[in-house]
Symmetry: C3
Subunit: 346 residues, 3 copies
């Protein structure tokens, strides 16, 4: 773990020099778990008890948080504790262990493949014919890159990633262990006796600066391409069907599923375990709540939630009414009785 002094930390965050500036700090932790050599942070008064007892060397405190007058902690006030933590993590981050420059002797590189300078190719990697591996690309142990694949500069593929044939990755793409790109899209036609496979002859095109988690499946298109826009970030265990088009800068949270030919605009957020029906279009800057199932197009800048997904405000209204439904059933029965009584006595 790398180490910084409190003075160095203050400089990194554009803060005035703190007292005890030479004190070394080797990491960040929660108030409860931090050791005397770690920094911690306080973003809300909810954690003041932990603040009182923390062993942390110093605490980054969000400016609006009211500290007890008599505290004796070394504190650094910041505008945004989350942002400050993120910046410091960049400095504390240990380097990712990578294969050495060049290729491991056990890697299989087809004669027709081209590997650019700076590439690091680990044990048991497979690179198929006619594939082009960009500069400084890291292929960790056991990665499979099929034939006629293009991988842009500075990409990193973690162990066990599979990139099937004819796929294109932009630059600076990160794909975590166990993800699979280019499986045939799921398409069959019934011929009266059996399901007959519809060939899936398209590809997958991934833009620059995309990051893809573990065990993600992105299917190849029936024809043309399944596309992931630049800067989009995809969490683990996500399913992306054939001919899906994901716009730039989207966030797709774990276990979400996008059926065939779904289109996401720019900056769309899909919550965990959300599901999008085939051919649905979701507009720019829209968001789908976790566990929702979207069966119809969503306008730009709209939040939807529920199963089936509705505009979020309507969904909340229905949920509130549903909480009252059991009582409503009773109330209506009593109303009926009162009314019947009234009609009788009239």
């Amino acid at each position: 773990m790398r180490s910084l002094t409190l003075s160095q930390i203050a400089t990194l965050l554009n803060l005035p020099a703190p007292g005890d500036g030479n004190r070394p700090v080797s990491g960040i932790s929660t108030l409860a778990e931090a050791s005397e050599r770690e920094l911690s942070f306080l973003g809300s008064e909810k954690y003041l008890d932990d603040f009182a007892t923390t062993k942390a060397a110093a605490v980054l405190v969000q400016k609006r948080v009211k500290l007890p007058a008599d505290h004796k902690k070394l504190v650094l006030f910041v505008d945004d504790a989350d942002l400050a933590v993120a910046k410091l993590l960049e400095h504390f981050a240990p380097p990712v262990p990578r294969p050495p420059l060049g290729r491991d002797h056990s890697a299989f590189i087809a004669p027709g493949a081209s590997i650019s300078e700076g590439a690091r190719i680990g044990p048991n990697v497979f690179v198929g014919d006619d594939s082009r591996i960009g500069k400084n690309v890291v292929l960790h142990a056991g990665v499979y890159v099929g034939c006629d694949v293009t991988i842009g500069d500075d990409c990193e593929l973690f162990p066990g990633v599979v990139i099937r044939e004819r796929i294109t990755l932009g630059s600076r793409v990160i794909i975590h262990a166990g993800s699979i790109l280019g499986t045939d899209g799921f398409g069959y036609r019934w011929d009266g006796k059996q399901h007959v496979k519809i060939p899936q002859i398209g590809t997958v095109i991934v833009g620059d600066d995309v990051e893809i988690g573990s065990c993600v499946c992105i299917d190849r298109a029936k024809f043309s391409a399944t596309r992931i826009g630049r800067g989009t970030k995809i969490d683990n265990l996500v399913q992306i069907g054939h001919n899906v088009v994901v716009g730039p800068h989207c966030i797709i949270v774990g276990q979400a599923g996008l059926a065939g030919s779904v289109t996401l605009g720019s900056g769309v957020v899909l919550g965990g375990q959300s599901a999008i029906r085939d051919h649905v279009r979701i507009g720019d800057q829209s968001a789908v709540a976790a566990c929702s199932g979207v069966a119809e197009d969503v306008d730009p800048k709209t939040i939807v939630s529920g199963l089936p997904a509705l505009p979020h405000r309507q969904s909340l209204r229905e949920q509130a009414a549903l909480r009252r439904l059991p009582d409503l059933v009773v109330q209506v029965r009593k109303l009926q009785e009162q009314l019947d009584e009234l009609r009788k006595t009239k």
Copy 2:
């Protein structure tokens, strides 16, 4: 990419010869994306704007679609545009890149394993003792086949597939990258202090012509076998628990989950992210809508939907009523006020 002339295409689809029959076509694309060397298709009037501006060499048009009188495109009228596209995709499909005949020197083949003629075994494949690999089987790089496994003729297992010990695959089974067959079923008993593993000593038996997507998990049975019926097709990231019996010709869409001992009849369709409770039986030709959770047996030829799943018609009725529920709450309150007023004035 393979190339066909328009005349050849017309012949394949049993259509009259078109004008410009020698024009070469090298693929299929959407109207918007097709180049001058590609074919496109029009199945509905919804896309007439794209039809007007497409660069496609020719367009397959569904017979009932009304084209503008003055269009100048080269069109081929067909009864079913989807079917015509599927047939042409079979001709345009490039061959899947495969390892050469025989076995790569880096493959580990146990001495007691038998490999039939025509097999193609890629780098770093593992085949355990007493396993039998059928004719023309393709094991792509990094496939793991445990001990005492039987793989029928003409199967293809993509990179990283794991087949644990004592499993049987029929003929022409396709398993896409990253799927795992034969993990122990999830079963424990609580002995008062801890969960004690219940041994899972059964197997998995996969029928002929089954296709399994990527990152699918099919657990081995507690005893006897987890079974996947012939001709069934399974999408990515599906979970199939121990002792499940899936009938023939089923379709199981991405991220569906079948708990232990579920039974599916013949021709059942499970939508994406659907979940089936353990021991539930779903009858022949029934269908479960996406995102549904099935907790009770389903009769044959029945569509169910919702969480919990209900007959689809009932589910739709409840959803329609739920849309009106917030207003209903208000209406009942007003009714009560009116009634109270009436009783007071009586």
Copy 3:
């Protein structure tokens, strides 16, 4: 398959010696599927038809089950048929095929890694620098263990498992094929132009006696550790986000998803496809029904269900009311008509 005589089986289960005690039994199966050399079991009268026709050598019968007076089967009465079956499965279980003692020549073991005695390391395994592999550990073919990883004694990692750098596993941990531990947690900040990755510099710590299914993803912490408590069992395709803390002896069923910083107490059960929102705490001994979405903290010893999850009793009440909702809408309309009529005639 191992074989036992009926006498040996009776001894194992503390039962009186049965007639035909020398009869050999080589396995267990359902009444319908059992051969004459297999044992079967009957836990409920629901299966008396199968009992009448079974070919099983003998049947374990739950004591409270009433058998027909004239049956001629060889039966062994037991207090708990499930428990008896579990105990016998332990004896019938064939050994798991494992790599031989030592390391396969194709394995990559970094010079700085230490491997304890009794370890079995299969083909194409990768073990990174400074990693410590405990006694009797089994690393099946193609397992990846990154740098500075600690694996306790008697662990077994199945093919294709990936353990990224700086992770710690306790003793007797089982991880099934295709699971990934230590992927970066899913965290970004928007800098006005793009999502910027927040470094994830923490680790994953897995306790003793944990079992993890296939294609499970457990992300490393942003800082500190994602923790899985001792004795916890995790099914296939589960997502566990960064900084999650799972208590001891939990059961997490297939396709469940735990977002970042979720905390589970001791003995918590999460149903299949359940989802837990980030930062939610679930108390000791609580349970979440399958397909539920938990958005708020759950007290100890509480069962919740539904989307959003509510106390189970309330959830059932709402579901029952929802079944009546379409009729309620009609009833309220009629009430309104009757009331209007009454007011008119007043």
